[in-house]
């Protein structure tokens, strides 16, 4: 160890004159720092697994003893999905991660507000390490966000987003923004609606620490955008589904030839044709 450090310390002579044959210095590696790829690579994944299994999940259990319904819908997923949940508290994310089956949790990235969590670099890195978040712009151009999010979905990651855009002040479900619809139509990914109840009592907006309170998480049947359904209409359907879960209900899915399965698993033909033109 000591020899290695000495070798490295003495090995580089930054201040010395370089021979003319040496090329200009260059970073050589394209800058990809903004996508936080390290947070989804080893050994960070293993570290996160340890943090969650060893700290977050037991803590969540002690604080909320969450009752989870519908986890089988997550287990039935055969491809990456968009997980859309209501949002009333910072505690919601912990409750959601608690509710997901192990395999799904390890493959879930969380869209975190870029203007809130990523203003301070250390905080951004910390939440990326702990919760596998990535910066999701609430104000910037939709194209860049869509592109990055669809890349993650195509790479096999579930994408957890809060379509309301911000925490609800009174715990009631607010109107969903159409982004979830755009993303689902662009990528063809199914959307899993989830309703979290109780987060607001654990840590309401404005309070900096959690207090124990019971919580329930209800996971609904995955939804797929239909043929001519617009992004806004689909976002509305997801919102209704979350509201129904809050009250307590669900719907059916597709089987048939490979073309039907392919269509069901991907963007509707209208979108494919538009993409092609």
């Amino acid at each position: 160890m000591v020899d290695d450090v000495r070798q490295v310390r003495r090995g580089w002579h930054w201040g010395e004159v370089k021979p003319r044959s040496w090329p200009e210095r260059a970073p050589a590696v394209p800058d990809r720092s903004s996508n936080l790829g390290w947070a989804r690579a080893e050994p960070v994944r293993s570290a996160r697994w340890l943090l969650q299994k060893g700290v977050s999940l037991p803590f969540t259990r002690v604080m909320a003893n969450p009752q989870v319904r519908g986890a089988e819908w997550m287990e039935s997923l055969e491809r990456p999905a968009i997980i859309a949940a209501n949002h009333a508290s910072h505690a919601d994310l912990q409750l959601l991660l608690y509710a997901l089956p192990d395999r799904a949790r390890e493959r879930t990235v969380v869209a975190a507000a870029a203007d809130y969590w990523y203003q301070r670099p250390w905080l951004g890195r910390l939440v990326s390490l702990w919760l596998n978040t990535f910066p999701f712009s609430r104000t910037g151009g939709p194209q860049a966000v869509l592109h990055h999010s669809s890349q993650l979905l195509k790479s096999g990651w579930h994408l957890l987003i809060f379509p309301e855009g911000s925490r609800s002040a009174d715990g009631r479900v607010q109107e969903f923004k159409p982004g979830v619809g755009f993303l689902a139509r662009e990528t063809g990914a199914p959307v899993v609606p989830i309703h979290v109840r109780g987060g607001q009592r654990i840590m309401p907006k404005g309070r900096a620490y959690p207090l124990p309170a019971p919580a329930q998480v209800r996971i609904g049947r995955p939804l797929q955008a239909q043929g001519k359904e617009s992004a806004r209409a689909f976002a509305g359907r997801v919102e209704r589904s979350v509201r129904e879960l809050a009250a307590g209900t669900d719907e059916p899915d597709v089987i048939g030839s490979w073309i039907e399965r392919w269509r069901a698993a991907g963007p509707p033909s209208g979108a494919a044709a538009r993409r092609r033109s």
Partner: protein, 525 residues
């Protein structure tokens, strides 16, 4: 604008040089005056891969748009390269996934009902479910697995057909489904100039009877090098077979190339020239060095093999194979070529943890030879970097360590064949047929995830040209008994290796170091 490849001379100000050492790394001091060959920096990737792919399919080279070739009622087969490409495996989404999603979408629009996707494994091992899913993506996998998405089986008598014979008298075989299809779409990923072209179909969907036509000592000795197809008998033979296949079945080729961005952010320092290292790179190196010195082997292997490369797509071409391949090679050469003046007495190379045949597995001693003397030695155009009779020095722990699931025939090859002789010609005539036709290896190849019984022979033949060319091979850091079994010399340190090499090439030898990976192609003048 990325920098081109470079040859740097070691002087007193030069930082130490990175050597890969299996699942580990080392910094070594090369003698003053040695030259280090660096590959070009990664080329700028195509900004919108999906758009480029759609354009390539709509405007193919010397062929009709793919859309016009698809019709209801036809039999369509999509074949694609297996996990031996690229190295390390590509982070998702793999470019083959992006290409195949477009092809399948076109097929769905055209109403093609009979479609199969085949992993063109040739004599490589069957890929696992997870490995296939990683390459094709979730959407294709859930739609087609397992009935219409599967591995090629080169040993299934009923599922391989004889297409005919080339003018040289070599037999040509092909996967039955592909042979009976109205259209075969081959989706390739070309990492080095050896890949792609006619070789894709002629090896990927063939059986042992077809592949042995070019995977033999005579052909490989006549391939100088097989990284430069015009001077490669291996490729001439594949072209003959490929043309015969094209006469028999309609093939639409799609070739992709990627840049050499081979390491994820955590291992950036491996990608960079030492002169570009920052303090952060030095710190990462130190951390990885300690890990590789002290961590258990299994943990190291898990960490190294979990690295996925963030390659960027640099080219996608579709259409007739010759035109497509020429375009692809232009980009690949641009990414790899470094111009070198003359040969040297000694070539040094640090062997990494990964070669084409040990993805998610162990680089056993036979594969060490295949990687060093087969692949890295042959990364040249014109003349080898080391002069005839010169010395190759490789760094690798070279342990007696095998993966019994993936490489069962390698174990017997090492224990039985190499104990007798290391001469490729003798090995071929005396042992090849027995291993190739062994029922147990055949069973493991077909039902488990083992490489074909003959595969260790091919790995060894791959090094035939180097063994014929060099005067000595020294392995630094290798287990002495293993290195001797391979027919080489073992050294403890690089300095010792240079000392030993002087006995072969004389005092004050000239030295070149191949700083790879990322891979380079030395254009030796």
């Amino acid at each position: 604008m990325s920098r081109p490849g470079a040859v740097l001379e070691v002087d007193r100000n030069s930082p130490p040089t990175l050597f890969h050492f299996g699942e580990g790394v080392r910094l070594e001091r090369l003698p003053l005056g040695s030259r280090i060959l660096y590959p070009p920096d990664p080329l700028e990737p195509i900004a919108h891969p999906e758009r480029a792919i759609r354009r390539a399919l709509a405007h193919p080279l010397d062929d009709d748009p793919l859309k016009d070739l698809l019709r209801p009622g036809m039999k369509l087969t999509i074949a694609f390269d297996d996990l031996s490409l690229p190295l390390p495996p590509m982070a998702q989404p793999d470019v083959r996934q992006l290409v195949m999603e477009e092809v399948v979408e076109l097929a769905a629009e055209a109403g093609v009902e009979d479609i199969h996707l085949i992993v063109a494994t040739g004599l490589h091992r069957r890929m696992t479910e997870d490995e296939i899913r990683h390459i094709v993506g979730d959407r294709i996998f859930t739609t087609f697995w397992p009935d219409c998405l599967y591995n090629h089986d080169a040993e299934d008598e009923g599922e391989n057909v004889r297409i005919g014979q080339t003018s040289d008298g070599h037999e040509v075989t092909l996967n039955r489904r592909a042979a009976e299809s109205d259209l075969v779409v081959y989706v390739n990923l070309t990492l080095v100039p050896m890949d792609g072209g006619h070789k894709s179909m002629a090896t990927g969907l063939a059986s042992y009877r077809g592949i042995r036509a070019h995977h033999n000592v005579e052909t490989l000795l006549g391939s100088r090098s097989y990284m430069h197809p015009p001077d490669s008998q291996l490729h001439h033979s594949c072209i003959q077979q490929g043309r015969l296949i094209e006469d028999h079945v309609r093939v639409f080729h799609i070739e992709t190339s990627v840049n050499n961005h081979a390491f994820p952010t955590v291992a950036n320092f491996m990608q960079k020239r030492e002169t570009d290292w920052t303090p952060a790179d030095q710190a990462t190196y130190l951390a990885l060095k300690q890990l590789s010195d002290f961590a258990p082997r299994d943990l190291k292997r898990t960490i190294f093999h979990s690295m996925k490369a963030p390659y960027g797509l640099t080219g996608v071409n579709a259409g007739q194979v010759d035109q497509v391949h020429e375009r692809t090679l232009d980009v690949v050469r641009k990414q790899m070529t470094v111009e070198v003046d003359g040969q040297t007495d000694i070539v040094t190379m640090g062997l990494p943890y990964l070669g084409p045949y040990n993805v998610n597995s162990i680089l056993n001693p036979v594969l060490v030879v295949c990687l060093g003397l087969g692949y890295l030695f042959n990364l040249y155009r014109g003349r080898p970097v080391v002069r005839e009779g010169g010395v190759v020095i490789m760094t690798h722990p070279c342990r007696y360590e095998f993966d019994s699931v993936h490489h069962p025939s390698y174990i017997d090859f090492y224990d039985e064949v190499l104990a007798d002789t290391t001469d490729p010609g003798q090995i071929e005539s005396k042992y090849e047929r027995r291993f190739a036709e062994d029922d147990w290896y055949r069973q493991l190849f077909r039902k488990s995830h083992a490489y074909h019984g003959v595969h260790p022979f091919y790995a060894w033949y791959w090094a035939a040209h180097a063994l014929d060319h060099v005067g000595d091979v020294i392995v630094v850091g290798g287990e002495r008994e293993v290195v001797h079994r391979l027919g080489f010399k073992a050294a403890t340190t690089l300095a010792d290796a240079f000392e030993m090499a002087e006995q072969t090439v004389g005092r004050y030898p000239s030295v070149s170091h191949l700083r790879t990976p990322p891979l380079l192609l030395a254009d030796v003048r």
